[in-house]
């Protein structure tokens, strides 16, 4: 369990990093927190001639609000996204979901950009990103572009990044005043990777829900928005019964793959449960607002 030989490149500026990446994009792998990449390298599932370490690049971390967006630098550690008052205020759903990512020691190292780029369908942050229609900022020596999260994730552990691009920022919409949110997951143990996740956010007018956003992860190759569930909530009062109804609808609208440890049917049931639970949390946070 030792990685194959590689060259370690440690630039200190964004421009240098992008230049290094542009030299041999196909032979270069980006290292962020290393919490996913290093095990893969140790098992030689990933072998790369060049490792581009972003840890010394200045200006890639940190969170700030710009207009109606919360801008999260790619190298922001999970732990910062979890605890930052800025995040808690502007996008509490993200902070809330971050609490479930691995263990504290993992969150101290792993990054928001890393988990987005890694594109694991069961990962919490990508699920939130899809639910909120977050924007993924990609930069290369050729320039800068933005992709919607739903377009960025193209398969389990696969994204739409070009080899010479780095994820530099992730933009989450700032929470509309009074909106409700919830995040639920099912993991076999505390801190373990979840089997499924659900993230919801909705607004309320005169006690009725509108503009609901619901995404689930782990039920297919990428986290997905559930349009039917969202419209089922539109204009209705959110109650426990409605949460259960939408959970059932969610379960019917996904077709997760069978795996040796988890069957399709069971995963589908979990989708029902986590969607319901995420909505119940939204309900609770509605109570709190009142």
């Amino acid at each position: 369990m030792k990685p194959a030989q590689f060259q370690l490149l440690q630039p200190t500026t964004r421009a240098e990093a992008l230049a290094v990446l542009a030299e041999q994009p196909d032979e270069t792998v980006i290292l962020a927190g290393g919490q996913s990449l290093v095990p893969l390298m140790n098992m030689r599932f990933v072998t790369a001639e060049r490792i581009l370490d972003l840890n010394r690049v200045s200006g890639l971390g940190g969170v700030e609000v710009r207009g109606d967006r919360l801008v999260v630098g790619a190298m922001t550690r999970h732990r910062e996204a979890e605890l930052s008052p800025v995040v808690l205020d502007a996008c509490p759903l993200l902070a809330h979901a971050e609490r479930h990512v691995g263990y504290v020691s993992i969150r101290n190292r792993g990054t928001v950009g890393g988990t987005i780029a890694h594109a694991d369908t069961v990962a919490q942050v990508p699920c939130v990103a899809v639910a909120l229609d977050a924007r993924i900022v990609l930069e290369s020596v050729r320039g800068r572009r933005e992709l919607a999260a739903g377009d960025f994730f193209v398969g389990n552990l696969m994204n739409a990044r070009e080899p010479d691009e780095a994820v530099t920022e992730v933009h989450f919409p700032v929470r509309p005043v009074g909106s409700l949110f919830g995040f639920a997951e099912f993991a076999r143990k505390v801190g373990d990777f979840p089997l499924v996740t659900a993230a919801v956010r909705l607004e309320q007018g005169a006690g009725l829900s509108r503009s609901a956003r619901i995404a689930v992860g782990g039920a297919g190759p990428t986290p997905v928005r559930l349009a039917e569930c969202e419209s089922a909530l539109e204009g209705r009062e959110l109650t426990g019964a409605l949460a259960e109804e939408v959970g059932r609808l969610a379960a019917e609208s996904v077709s997760p793959a069978d795996s040796p440890f988890v069957s399709t049917d069971y995963r589908r049931n979990l989708v029902r449960v986590v969607v319901r639970r995420a909505l119940e949390q939204a309900l609770d946070c509605g109570e709190e607002l009142r």
Partner: protein
């Protein structure tokens, strides 16, 4: 019939400082281990040391056409690449044969030749300047394999037309067994009821924090091979390695430094432990190999994997009459040295009747070869699965009769005035507190209140379950057990050497190594208690065959009874000499000499005294003053054998409260109670640590751990901690523990083994608790581990479906 006239053995041990026993003395090893100063095999660095890695079979079953090492050899930094052919002559294949008449032998080459039989089997060994280069080269070794269909289930292995698994085999089993006592058929015919159930315990593994690790170095001057080995059994390792390497034992030295957990995994001798010294000898350079986690989870050994068909005969009033057990063990691809592939089956067949007063018993079964990692010992060998099976069946009997499960057990358990008890499985139970421990458990957990709470919470839609298990288990096995199995090594004694130096301080040399148990502390307590010297004046030494007496090492909860027993008896003999010398110096007769706080004095005249230290000084430095007939020697050795009987039998009862999530089937443990009786306790803190860790490991088996395979391809699926789930701190509830102290009539100090009870009883208790919770949904049978959320949820769905069907009559 056995001669049990020696029911009580007086070892003539007198304790001069009773406060040293039963005291939670802080572990002397902790400043080292907790402070990060432990020294493990990984820490061993030798000048010029090379690093090895193994090329392992990617297939479950295949013929080896060729192993091409050309490209690997050419890689800069590679020193050698060895294949099975290279080792075929220089080493001998591991044959671990049991003596049963039905036994079929298997030969396991150190590196595979001709055929591979499981994914992970070592096929070639690359030795290079570092592990990185070694692994680079390993990926260049070309394997030409011809795939064969693998045997992946016991049913495939039991099929009459199965292909011979090993050369010359006539069936697919290493061994079959049967034993019978009492009128089984008669009792079954006359019983009011019989119940037949199948209980399945999954394959999982010991998974110590530190995996296996070996460094070997040959001294060119005297051809002594020094082997740093992460082992529980330094002398057995020496014998095993010597034998298979053809290097004489007196030129093999094993050093087992700090060992980061063993749990039975490291009491075997593995091919890698022979291959690494082979390379060091062939290359005349030190060679190191440290197992990684993938190797540990796929290529060391697995355990459990038992399918138990139990049939029980009982009466309306709850009397259990007779038991039939058919045990099938999935023993994997090879028989492990020295316990053999008969171990799990043999003990299961003997153990199955448990602590109950069955009047008749028939036990039989088979150990089946499959294309999986070999099956080896792991904390709670066979008892974990057997206790799960039997205790589930007993609970189902209680349910059928609508009796309280604790009451049903109490009326059938062996009473404390009935020992020694010859069990129909062939064991002699030395002593115990089976009923008392259950009573204490009911009391400490306030089970009546728990039941009330369960009903209240049920009304709130929660599914709480309460489960109990009780059991006894063989520990510190005497010769009888291994002689019956006819294993290559008949375990049943251990040795100690006790030496007092001129300053009156003592060093104890033993072979029962510690891998976390705290022997440096508890063994010192034993000596300090008898000699009445300060605890700090005793040092315990083990882990080096150059200094430790040759013994059997640590496994099967034997260290306190066997290692500790030999320490107590060697200390007794040392003390006898000190008493004689004190009498001489005090001009008193030895019978009149008393010892207190390190001082000898004539009875009734404490003013005249001589200290232990003064005697030691005289013996070593002024031996001219010794009385005639006494040598200038303060060293004693003792080899204690656990006769009479078949080992010593601690007992334990556990009660657990679970919460089952009706939406997902996830099981949460709310409360955990244990009453354990391992006889008099030397250091309660250490015993509690053993129980806590044991329960945690049992929780792993009950809920999480599973060495799952793909049955088509034979590929292991749980190869990292991503898929092999271990319990963590948040998965283990607070454990409330109480002790009972029933001495063994046989062992020195009456001690019994304490290390396995936590593990042995917890899957059974948890499964019973889950079954109890599921009764809230309807009629389901909890019959298979682990109780993953998906499996429990399937039970919930089945129960609901059954209830929805109106035709199902269910009066209960």
């Amino acid at each position: 019939m056995r001669d049990l006239s020696a029911y009580s053995v007086d070892h003539g041990i007198e304790i001069a400082s009773p406060n040293m026993l039963g005291a939670s003395v802080k572990r002397v090893e902790d400043p080292r281990l907790i402070g990060g100063h432990g020294r493990y095999v990984t820490d061993v660095e030798r000048p010029g040391m090379l690093h090895a890695t193994f090329v392992r079979s990617p297939e479950a079953h295949a013929l080896i056409r060729a192993v091409d090492t050309t490209a690997a050899r050419e890689l800069p930094g590679v020193v050698a690449v060895f294949t099975g052919e290279d080792l075929r002559e220089a080493t001998s294949a591991i044959r671990a044969d049991a003596g049963y008449p039905t036994w079929q032998t298997s030969a396991r080459p150190i590196l595979a030749v001709d055929r591979v039989r499981f994914v992970g089997e070592p096929m070639a060994m690359v030795v290079a300047v570092d592990r990185y280069v070694a692994e680079d080269a390993a990926s260049l070794v070309m394997l030409d394999l011809e795939s064969l269909p693998p045997i992946m289930t016991v049913d495939q292995g039991l099929a009459p037309d199965v292909e011979p698994f090993h050369d010359g085999w006539e069936t697919g089993c290493y061994v079959t067994r049967s034993k019978e006592s009492g009128d089984v058929d008669g009792l079954f015919a006359q019983a009011d009821h019989t119940l037949k159930l199948r209980m399945t315990t999954q394959r999982y593994a010991a998974v110590p924090m530190e995996g296996r690790a070996v460094v070997a170095e040959l001294d060119p001057h005297d051809e002594v091979l020094t082997i740093w080995d992460s082992t529980q059994v330094p002398h057995l390792a020496r014998t095993g390695i010597s034998q298979h390497l053809g290097h004489p034992e007196h030129r093999v030295r094993i050093i087992a430094p700090d060992v980061g957990g063993g749990f039975g995994l490291k009491c075997m001798v593995f091919p890698e432990e022979i291959a690494i010294p082979f390379a060091a000898r062939a290359l005349r350079r030190p060679v190191k190999w440290v197992e990684d986690r993938v190797e540990n989870l796929t290529a060391s050994a697995h355990a459990r994997d038992a399918r138990d068909d139990l049939e029980i005969a009982f009466n309306d009033d709850g009397e259990l009459l007779a038991l039939k057990a058919h045990v099938v063990i999935d023993s994997g691809a090879y028989s492990v040295w020295p316990y053999t592939a008969s171990m799990e089956l043999g003990t299961a067949v003997n153990q199955m009747p448990g602590p109950y007063r069955f009047r008749a018993y028939r036990g039989e079964g088979a150990a089946v070869a499959t294309n999986k990692t070999p099956h080896g010992p792991f904390r709670g060998v066979s008892r974990v699965a057997a206790t799960f099976a039997l205790e589930r069946v007993v609970d189902e009997v209680a349910r059928f009769l609508d009796m309280d499960p604790i009451e049903l057990r109490k009326r059938n358990l062996i009473r404390s005035d009935e020992f020694p008890w010859e069990s129909p499985g062939g064991y002699v139970f030395d002593s115990g507190s089976y009923i008392e421990s259950l009573e204490k458990l009911a009391e400490m957990s306030d089970v009546a209140e728990l039941r009330r709470r369960q009903r209240d919470l049920r009304e709130q839609g929660r599914y709480i379950g309460i489960g109990v298990s009780c059991f006894n288990e063989q520990t510190a096995h005497s010769f009888a057990e291994y002689a019956e199995r006819g294993t290559p090594v008949v375990v049943g004694y251990d040795k100690a050497h006790v030496r007092m130096d001129a300053d009156g301080k003592v060093t104890v040399f033993v072979d029962t190594h510690a891998q976390g148990q705290g022997h440096e502390t508890s063994y010192a307590q034993l000596v300090a208690a008898q000699l009445s010297i300060p605890f700090e004046d005793v040092r315990v030494s083990f882990g080096d065959t150059e200094t430790a007496p040759a013994g059997m090492g640590t496994f099967a909860s034997r260290s306190m009874a066997m290692g500790g027993g030999s320490i107590q008896l060697a200390t007794r003999d040392l003390k006898a000499k000190l008493v004689r010398l004190a009498a001489h110096m005090l001009e008193a007769s030895p019978e009149d000499v008393e010892l207190r706080e390190g001082m000898f004095f004539p009875a009734g005249a404490p003013a005249r005294s001589v200290s232990v230290r003064e005697i030691a000084r005289m013996v070593h430095l002024q031996s001219n003053k010794l009385p005639p007939g006494e040598d200038p020697l303060l060293e004693t050795s003792y080899s204690y054998r656990g006769d009479p009987g078949t080992g010593t039998f601690p007992n334990c009862a556990q009660l657990v409260v679970v919460d089952v999530d009706p939406d997902t089937g996830k099981v949460t443990l709310l409360d955990y109670f244990v009453v354990e009786d391992c006889g008099p306790v030397i250091n309660p803190m250490l015993v509690e640590g053993q129980i806590h860790g044991g329960v945690a490991q049992g929780i792993g088996g009950a809920l999480f751990e599973h060495s799952l395979y793909d049955e088509e391809s034979g590929q292991p699926l749980a190869t990292t901690f991503l898929d092999y789930l271990m319990p963590g701190a948040t998965d283990v509830p607070d454990i409330r523990l109480e002790h009972l102290y029933t001495p063994s009539p046989w062992t020195p100090g009456g001690v019994k083994g304490a290390a396995e009870a936590g593990t042995t009883g917890s899957p059974a208790a948890i499964a019973n608790a889950v079954a109890d919770a599921l009764r809230g949904f309807g009629d389901v049978l909890v019959d298979e581990l682990p109780l993953t959320p998906e499996r429990v949820y399937a039970h919930i769905l089945a129960a609901r479906a059954a209830q929805a069907t109106p035709a199902t009559p269910d009066p209960r």
